[in-house]
Amino acid sequence: DAMVIQNPRYQVTQFGKPVTLSCSQTLNHNVMYWYQQKSSQAPKLLFHYYDKDFNNEADTPDNFQSRRPNTSFCFLDIRSPGLGDAAMYLCATSVDGTGVDEQFFGPGTRLTVL
């Protein structure tokens, strides 16, 4: 089945220790998104790629970076995680970001910062 896969499902890191979260898709969609969802909060868009074009949200901290080496994979790098970065990180894809363009979500990676 075509899907959005996120690895790992649970990630524990230490304060200040860089961490990378992974997302892959078999849908061959052009757009890939990263959302951060803190407990009892709405998912918040961090950035997205349209193909290789990177689009950062204005309020995304510099501590968060992303890479998309090919259509299938997208990575979220947190350079120096703080306690406030503990959250669920959701990856999503969509065909082209226009019209109703449903976004397909992965199961998420729950990040714990010790």
């Binding site: 996120q6 909060q41 709405a42 998912p43 949200e57 959701l90 999503a92 449903e102 199961p107």
Partner: protein, 110 residues
């Protein structure tokens, strides 16, 4: 600022009755509205959408109503089933971005 608001964190409904989930928004530039359903340990899955030029969209047991003048939309589930128990997120789209509400946890009891 939260542009999409779901003011009811939770809702409990008996099986067979109607579930009504509400959502308010502030940005009149939103062009599409979507509802997502989320089960524990899974990502949100798309449920139903509505364009800003329409006031109703129906898909089986699910109907979404849009009141643009009030900046309000609602999701109706009729009849409600225990398998509908999940967190429901309202989302509004402008350009590429989806702006989500905080979600409403629906519990359908037998």
């Amino acid at each position: 600022d939260q542009q999409v608001k779901q003011n009811s964190p939770s809702l409990s409904v008996q099986e067979g009755r109607i579930s009504i989930l509400n959502c308010d928004y502030t940005n009149s530039m939103f062009d599409y509205f979507l509802w997502y359903k989320k089960y524990p340990a899974e990502g949100p899955t798309f449920l139903i959408s509505i364009s800003s030029i329409k006031d109703k969209n129906e898909d089986g047991r699910f109907t979404v109503f849009l009141n643009k003048s009030a900046k309000h939309l609602s999701l109706h589930i009729v009849p409600s089933q225990p398998g509908d128990s999940a967190v429901y997120f309202c989302a509004a789209r402008t350009e590429y971005a989806l702006n989500f509400g905080k979600g409403t946890s629906l519990l359908v009891t037998p």
